[in-house]
């Protein structure tokens, strides 16, 4: 894997070289290509919990059944130094083939899917339906007193939709976590 190391050339202290912005917390989306072998997810998750890193979201599924490869998409937060450590540490896991930091490697697209169950009657039910329309959510199940909406979009869009559904009778929500990919060929 390639490392993105900050290199200074000043002859001052290493600490003077530290970018003052370093202490800022950043959110990065990492795409990790792994061998789909037993325990690989446990290794990745164990790395994050063992070293005190954050996982905002994590998705995993086999993406190349013939090559037995899976793609894990992790959204994580940390200072730039911590993000570099996370990538380097992921690179040490034997079944990890590649670590791509989609946040720094150029523009990328991120999508998440969610299912929301909204229970209600009368005006609230109508309003939920109307908002779902605006957000391009699909109804995948309905009874006389409930809907299950399927919505796809950026995590922010899903957050916004969820916020709106709360007062309208949101009873259950399932989110997939983020899948992400670099733009362009």
């Amino acid at each position: 894997m390639t490392l993105h190391l900050k290199k200074g050339s000043s002859r001052k202290s290493a600490y003077d070289l530290k970018n003052p912005l370093d202490e800022q917390i950043e959110t990065h989306t990492l795409a990790v290509l792994v061998d789909n072998e037993a325990g690989v997810l446990a290794r990745v998750i164990g790395l994050f919990s063992g070293r005190g890193y954050n996982i905002e979201s994590l998705t995993v599924a086999e993406t190349d059944p013939e090559g037995h490869r899976s793609r894990i998409t992790i959204v994580t937060t940390g200072t730039p130094a911590v993000i570099e450590q996370i990538k380097a540490q992921l690179g040490l896991i034997i079944p990890v083939y590649r670590v791509n930091d989609l946040t720094v490697e150029g523009p990328s697209v991120e999508r998440e899917m969610a299912l929301l169950k909204v229970a209600g009657q009368g005006d609230k039910r109508v309003e939920a339906m109307r908002l779902a329309d605006i957000f391009r959510a699909n109804v995948v199940d309905s009874t006389l007193e409930s809907f299950v909406f399927e919505i796809t979009g950026t995590p922010e869009k899903i957050d916004a939709f969820t916020d709106l559904m709360h007062p309208l009778g949101l009873t259950d929500i399932a989110r997939t976590g983020v899948a992400a990919m670099a733009r362009g060929a």
């Binding site: 190391l5 900050k6 200074g8 001052k12 600490y15 164990g46 450590q85 690179g91 040490l92």
Partner: protein, 584 residues
């Protein structure tokens, strides 16, 4: 198609093909087929330890004394869990180790069967990689891959969990050449552009220092030779971590002694005051850096390391060079020579005169006594009486370990084995067993504390059974000395639980195991006692009764910088502030 073998035979055949001559292990129900296969051959010697932790440390000692991976064989459940400490130790100190563990049969996994433990789950964070092999067909290739992973890149422990039915079932044997390989191929050559940048800065250095670590030793003897060549050619001063001792000879002209928490004044002040630091195979561990925001404030830093995750983890460096130390040093020297071996020799001379002033503090001097043996004196005498011998030293963990690093001289790599990263009491005796197995004719001494020695003392039985004449040099202060020192300096002399109460009679203990025991408590008898220990052809415990409240100095108190060292008891008052107390 090669011949069918049972899983157990595959294990033994694969080990042989990998050049294994020794296995450290302990049998049990889930590995009986492998023990049966071991019984029916003579190429691989099995050393029966007395506790599986002992097997792991013995394998570490063997590995560090030979440069080859150490191999451990344990049963399921408690056998495997007992191996966890040694695996963690090997992970922290980058020691190549292959642990083979038995497991309950595949059809019983998950049933809470007798002696079942989730061994791969338990050892995942303390191994470089591990496998549960569910199919005999995959066993040979897994073992071959395990050796590759344990020994390449940054070395470390791996574990292969082998269910009993997999050991019984048959499959064709796959040789190393035929087995599928892994994609794991760590970078060994350093980036030439970075190396050139490092050389350019090195040429300009007026106050250079070379700070070397265990990575030089792991890389092989050639790396130590190249390091020596670089030091000799540039006249740069050199210091080393605990793990790196011996890569540059302690008798060498440019040697400043060990650095870090109990390092020498000259090494630590040179680290603090240098304008160029070449870190060769070390990792800026907290025992080395002290307070990181005051660490070597004015230097241009070059970091050579095989592990990309070591770069910028603790200290931000100016030039990172990832690769094997031997390869990097070779290229570094090539580039430096091709540019005309430039150094700022006049400035470096001036730098040396500054360093000589620091050396004049003679920080390792101590008040000797003619009534009670000072631990430092005991080690100085041991050094004097053994220095020309073919000698290997292991240590336990505590004050005696730091004194061993300070007062014994190591002129070659692979001669000093100690638990650095994990600080495992109980490491030294089994490690000495492993070293002696690897070098039956050499002198192997474990420098021990009374408390540490008791942690794995059962391995005296192994030493006696296999005629391993290991010497246990116990600096007996009847205290958990290092704990006591911290309590004295940090906790108002409240010595909570740091007494070694009810110590055994070590002479009788040695005799009970079938070895020789010697007691010495008078400085006048010390030399004779050491000579008696050396002359005896068999395992010896030398119970060297020393000053009880001696402190280990110099010391950089936790939370302090390199230039805030304390040198002696008189300087300890208020040396450590509240923030320092919260650190380890």
């Amino acid at each position: 198609m090669s011949r069918e073998m049972t899983g157990a035979e595959i294990v033994v055949t694969a080990l042989k093909e990998q050049g294994v001559d020794t296995v450290f292990g302990y049998p049990g129900g889930a590995v009986l087929p492998i023990y049966d296969a071991i019984f029916q051959q003579n190429d691989i010697k099995h050393i029966l330890v007395r506790h599986e932790q002992g097997a792991t440390h013995a394998a570490e000692g063997y590995a560090r004394a030979t440069g080859k991976p150490g191999v451990v064989l344990v049963t399921s459940g408690p056998g495997a869990t007992n191996a966890v400490t040694g695996m963690t130790d090997a992970l922290m100190d980058s020691i190549p180790m292959i642990v083979l563990s038995g497991q309950v049969p595949t059809f019983m996994i998950g049933n809470d069967a007798f002696q079942e433990a989730d061994t791969v789950g338990i050892t995942r964070p303390c191994s470089k990689h591990n496998w549960l092999v569910k199919d005999t067909d995959e066993l040979a290739e897994t073992i071959h891959q395990a050796f590759h992973i344990a020994t390449s890149g940054r070395p470390g422990p791996v574990l292969i969990d082998i269910p009993k039915d997999v050991q019984f079932a048959s499959a064709p044997y796959k040789t190393k050449a035929k087995a599928p390989t892994t994609h794991y191929k760590p970078q060994v050559k350093g980036d030439l552009a970075e190396i050139t940048r490092a050389v350019e800065a090195f040429e300009q250095a007026e106050r250079p220092i070379i700070y070397s670590g265990g990575g030089v030793i792991n890389s092989g003897v050639a790396a130590s030779q190249l390091l020596r060549e670089l030091v000799a050619g540039s006249n740069a001063p050199i210091t080393s971590t605990l793990m790196g001792l011996g890569a540059y000879p302690a008798s060498g002209d440019n040697w400043l002694g060990m650095l870090g928490m109990h390092g020498t004044v000259e090494a630590n002040l040179a680290m603090h005051g240098c304008d160029f630091m070449l870190c060769v195979g070390a990792r800026f561990d907290d025992r080395i850096t002290g307070r990181t925001d005051a660490f070597s404030p004015d230097s241009f830093k070059v970091h050579m390391d095989i592990d990309p995750s070591s770069i910028n983890k603790i200290i931000h460096v100016d030039v990172p060079i990832i690769g094997d130390i031997g390869h990097i040093l070779e290229d570094f020297l090539k580039v430096w020579k091709s540019r005309g071996r430039k150094t700022k020799s006049a400035a470096i001379k001036k730098w040396w005169s500054q360093i000589e002033e620091w050396q004049a503090t003679k920080c390792l001097d101590f008040k000797n006594s003619d009534t009670i043996i000072k631990p430092q004196h005991a080690l100085q005498r041991l050094e004097a009486l053994t220095k020309n011998m073919d000698r290997y030293i292991t240590t336990e963990v505590g004050q005696h370990q730091m004194w061993a690093a300070q007062y014994l001289n190591f002129d070659d790599p692979h001669r000093f084995m100690t638990s650095g990263g994990l600080g495992t009491m109980g490491y030294g005796l089994p490690a000495s067993v492993g070293v002696q197995v690897a070098h039956p004719e050499s002198l192997v001494i474990n420098i021990a504390g009374d408390a540490s020695f008791l942690m794995n003392m059962q391995e005296m039985g192994t030493a006696v059974q296999f005629n391993l004449p290991v010497k246990q040099f116990i600096l007996n202060n009847e205290r958990l000395g290092m704990v006591r020192q911290w309590q004295q300096l940090l906790h108002g002399e409240r010595y909570s639980q740091s007494w070694s109460e009810a110590l055994p009679d070590f002479v009788k203990l040695a005799e009970a195991f079938g070895g020789k025991g010697i007691l010495v408590d008078d400085p006048a008898d010390l030399d004779e006692a050491i000579k008696e220990m050396l002359a005896y052809d068999g395992p010896v415990i030398l119970d060297c009764v020393v000053e009880k409240h001696e402190n280990c100095f110099p010391m950089i108190p936790s939370g302090k910088a390199h230039n805030e060292m304390i040198l002696c008891d008189e300087e300890t008052a208020d040396a450590i502030d509240a923030a320092g107390k919260t650190r380890v």
